[in-house]
């Protein structure tokens, strides 16, 4: 139990007659990179919102970082990081001010913020830009910075909602290097993406279709099972049967 970061059992979210998430069951190991795939409208976002402590499930069980999604939302929030597809730093704050703000919101002490942000700026090679407004940075840098900020408070799990949207392939590659580093320091990475090459980078992936998890395994095993060489094909074969589409 201790080395499971996320456990879901028959997790369901229903809006009226509509089952956005329909009895999904899976678990994620601590330090694992878990890809959460699915076409638009498959229920990814709804499931993720429950796991992030933003909404309550209708039925089923789930724990995140060892905390119950019904009763311990506040504790979940303290132990996770989050980065969304929309860019999530403040353009008219400097890099350091952004770090300071998010550190402050997560209750990191001032001394700690100072030490860690100096480290972070050094690692990213942004010493010269540290006092510049984030709005002046290129998108790729912003995205990397946003990820660093999302794990600044050393969460157990970080949720990434389509983190590399609109970024060039080289930056995406660098971004994934950062994800591997985070996973190496035992942070669980829960990532949604539409890029199938990115899905290959994950330890394991799950593919959601119409609110259900239709397949879950390592990319290699999935390709074998569907008798194909590309994740694209796997995804296509599964998603083709979907009745729901769009957002």
């Amino acid at each position: 139990m201790e080395n499971k970061a996320i456990i879901c059992k028959d997790l369901t979210k229903q809006f009226g007659d509509f089952k956005a998430v329909d009895k999904i069951t899976f678990d994620v190991d601590q330090g694992e990179i878990f890809g959460f795939l699915g076409a638009n409208g498959a229920g990814k976002t709804t499931a993720m919102r429950i796991l992030c402590g933003l909404s309550y499930p209708t039925s089923g069980e789930a724990t995140v970082a060892g905390f119950n999604v019904y009763k311990e939302q506040e504790l979940i929030k303290k132990n996770i990081g989050y980065m969304s597809q929309k860019f999530s730093l403040y353009d008219n704050l400097t890099i350091l001010e952004n770090i300071e703000f998010y550190g402050g919101v997560y209750g990191v002490s001032r001394a700690e913020i100072k030490a860690r942000s100096a480290d972070l700026v050094h690692t990213l090679g942004l010493e010269k830009e540290a006092k510049k407004l984030v709005g002046e940075l290129p998108l790729g840098w912003k995205q990397k910075l946003a990820f660093s900020v999302a794990i600044f408070h050393r969460p157990k799990i970080v949720f990434l909602d389509e983190p590399t949207g609109g970024v060039d392939p080289i930056t995406r590659r660098q971004f994934w290097d950062m994800i591997y580093e985070a996973a190496a320091s035992n942070i669980t990475v829960f990532v949604t993406t539409h890029y199938m090459d990115e899905a290959e980078y994950c330890n394991r992936i799950s593919i959601m279709v119409d609110g259900k998890v239709e397949a879950m395994d390592s990319p290699t095993n999935l390709k074998q099972r569907f008798n194909t060489h590309s994740m694209d094909e796997v995804f296509y074969q599964l998603a083709r049967g979907a009745k729901r589409s769009g957002d």
């Binding site: 992030c52 402590g53 933003l54 909404s55 506040e74 929030k77 303290k78 996770i80 989050y82 980065m83 969304s84 597809q85 929309k86 860019f87 999530s88 730093l89 403040y90 353009d91 008219n92 704050l93 001010e97 300071e100 703000f101 998010y102 550190g103 402050g104 919101v105 997560y106 209750g107 001032r110 407004l133 949720f159």
Partner: protein
Amino acid sequence: MKQLFAFIRKEFYHVFRDRRTLLILFGFPIVQILLFGFALSSEVKNIGVAIQDNAHDVNSSEIINRIQKSSYFKVKEEIVSYSDVERRFKDGSIRCAIIFPVNFGQDLYRKEGSRIQILADASDPNTATIAVNYLTAIIRAYQQDLNPNRTLSYQIVPQLRQLYNEEQNGSLNFIPGVIALIFMIVSTALTSVAVVREKELGTMEILLVSPFKPILVLIAKAIPYLVLSLINFIIILLLAVFLLNVEIRGSLVLIFAESILFIITCLSLGLLISNVTDSQQTAMLISMMGMMLPTLLLTGFMFPLENMPSIFQVISHIVPSRYYYAIIKAVMLKGLGFGYVWKETLILAGMAVVLLSIALKRFKIRL
């Protein structure tokens, strides 16, 4: 607490780095005060007047002299023909004209008395009435001076006093209204935009996922604007006192306390607006249209409420600025104490509580 401070500091960065916000925050009030104080004055001064003096005698010259000396009128050169008068009315250089008949002076000592014609441009009825009244007063005063001993025994002389504003300073009436208007716009619009901006940027999502309590998000948004609105208020008061010669008669403490109450009402309204909209433009539009127009029209500072159709009078009861306007007018201009404004204060406080609780509740639901 530390989290809250981190948040509030961030809000101040936003305000001070955004030129647009700064402009609305501090430029707007100053422009408003100057506009209402000077340009949109309801007093009538320097009314253009043309004089056609066909009499050219002592009496007519004396009256012309008096008109010239009055600050209400600006005498344009004398005009000979009647068509000239009409032309000047049309091109707008004069608002009224006086025509003395040929034997004006002589007729004065006859039984029938003498006549004088006053023409006024009534396309603006208020100005026309005021101009005619002023002219009549000047002529009457002259007549009085002419034969001081022959006052009729049964003449009634009304003794007029315009209370609370004896020098007829037009800014007096405007100041409380403009203050209400500025709070309404600055506090309501800027707060709603500040919250909606986070939604637009996607940072609201991050905030909701963080352990930071949603209610604290609202408080952290509101506090900077409360502080800034108060600074604004001080600037407006200073402008009013030193530039427009408004005398503050009531207690400053009471004025400040009431203003804080009204600002809180406005902030709550702003938070409420931010809850029901997702774009900055919509938020701005609702705040401007929904708040500015009722404040302009339904508080009684531009148009008297008593003259409005009863439906508008009823609606005016839900406009918070109406009560604030009444309070500030009573305290600032009449020097009244809390005992006279407690009812309005209570209503305002009630509105603040209701608006704030709806805002907080809706914010939670939208989580």
